[in-house]
């Protein structure tokens, strides 16, 4: 095979260093979860960033992408890229709708007493236009 003509001892050491980095980063992310970075969204961003660093280490070293043929890395990246597109556009829709709450979370209009019709002008609790 053409890959990995480097000596196995160096490779072993590399894998061990990668594992240790991953374990350290795990500790970091657990620790970071106890710190409040402003909003909860910020906490999510921090957590996902650390996760991405860990994922990159796994991909580059454990999955050998660093020294592999570029097409494999391209394939891997495409998977994440298109997932990102799905998430991004769907979020754009969700975030820019008029109010995130669906109407069924607003209290129901109270039913009229039997025998009386609701007043003609009686609208349900003010709806946003």
């Amino acid at each position: 095979m053409s890959e990995h003509q480097t000596n196995p001892k160096a490779e072993s050491a590399l894998y061990l260093r990668t594992l240790l980095s991953l374990l350290v980063l795990t500790g970091v992310t657990v620790g970071a979860s106890y710190i409040h970075f402003g909003s909860s969204a910020a906490n999510v961003v921090v957590a996902l960033t650390i996760a991405t660093i860990k994922a990159t280490l796994v991909a580059l070293f454990f999955m050998h992408l660093l020294h592999d043929k570029p097409v494999n890395g391209l394939i891997a990246a495409s998977g994440f890229l298109f997932l990102g597109l799905f998430l991004m556009f769907t979020l754009i829709d969700f975030d820019s709708r008029d109010g995130l709450q669906p109407t069924n979370l607003k209290p129901l209009m109270t039913a009229p007493a039997p025998g009386t019709a609701p007043a003609p002008g009686a609208a349900p609790a003010a709806k946003k236009e």
Binding site: M1, L16, L19, L22, N43, L48, V58, A76, D95, P102
Partner: protein, 235 residues
């Protein structure tokens, strides 16, 4: 016509002379190296499809998190952070033993290969064991998916049937469940190649199955790397 052929003998594969007699060589390929590279590309494509499959669940979870921010935040409290962290460490360690197994197979170290693969399987079993404890706890507390949810003591009242807690645990079970199924399949694959490694099938010229199962296993680890913070560390 406009093409010529390289040779006439159908048994000599284009003069490259590379392992036509290797029992693992498939004859629509020209060389063993081409076969290895091709199967690797195939495996990476499969992994990309897995990323998108799981990714769909992540997107769904993200949208539901946006919909029920307070309920989801509270639901997170039921997840046991130490167990999640333990499982993360176990899986990372198993990724290391896996890649060491691949290295051992590639460097003709049969015994080490088998040992590393078996340790990987053990780690996977520990992971599933921890998961079993977690799931039992959820069942006891009534923290079940969808209309089976019957936990008492939630702080936010459920209005008009929109139970964010139930939705949270639906996603919890779907995502950890699908991940768990992948771990089970992984155990099967690892056992299979450990068995083959023990028979001496792998060497520096042919270790493809170990490499490919390794890639699969690292993906399983990758998915957990994202699952862990999203479920266990947000509060």
């Amino acid at each position: 016509m406009s093409t010529s052929t390289v040779d006439v003998n159908p048994h000599d594969h284009g003069g490259h002379g590379d392992h036509p007699s290797d029992p693992h060589f498939q004859h629509h390929f020209t060389t063993l190296e081409q076969q290895f590279d091709t199967t690797k590309i195939g495996m990476w494509i499969f992994l990309a499809t897995e990323v998108l499959l799981f990714g769909g669940l992540f997107v769904g979870f993200g949208m539901m998190q946006a919909r029920y921010p307070e309920m989801f935040k509270e639901a997170h409290e039921h997840l046991q952070r130490p167990l999640g962290a333990l499982n993360t460490v176990v899986l990372l360690f198993s990724s290391w033993t896996m890649v060491m197994g691949v290295l051992s197979a590639r460097t003709n170290q049969k015994k080490k290969t088998v040992v590393f693969l078996i340790v990987t399987i053990l780690c996977a079993c520990i992971f599933l064991g921890v998961k079993y404890f977690e799931y039992s706890h959820k069942f006891e507390e009534g923290l079940l998916p969808g209309h089976y949810y019957h936990h008492i003591g939630d702080r936010i009242p459920v209005v008009n049937g929109a139970n964010g807690y139930a939705t949270f645990f639906s996603f919890y079970f779907m995502m950890t469940g699908l991940h768990g199924i992948h771990i089970l399949v992984g155990i099967g694959l690892l056992a299979w190649i450990a068995f083959r490694a023990n028979k001496g099938e792998f060497n520096s010229d042919y270790y493809t199955p170990v490499d490919l199962v390794g890639l699969y296993w690292h993906l399983v680890d990758l998915i957990w790397i994202y699952l862990f913070p999203l479920y266990y560390l947000i509060s």
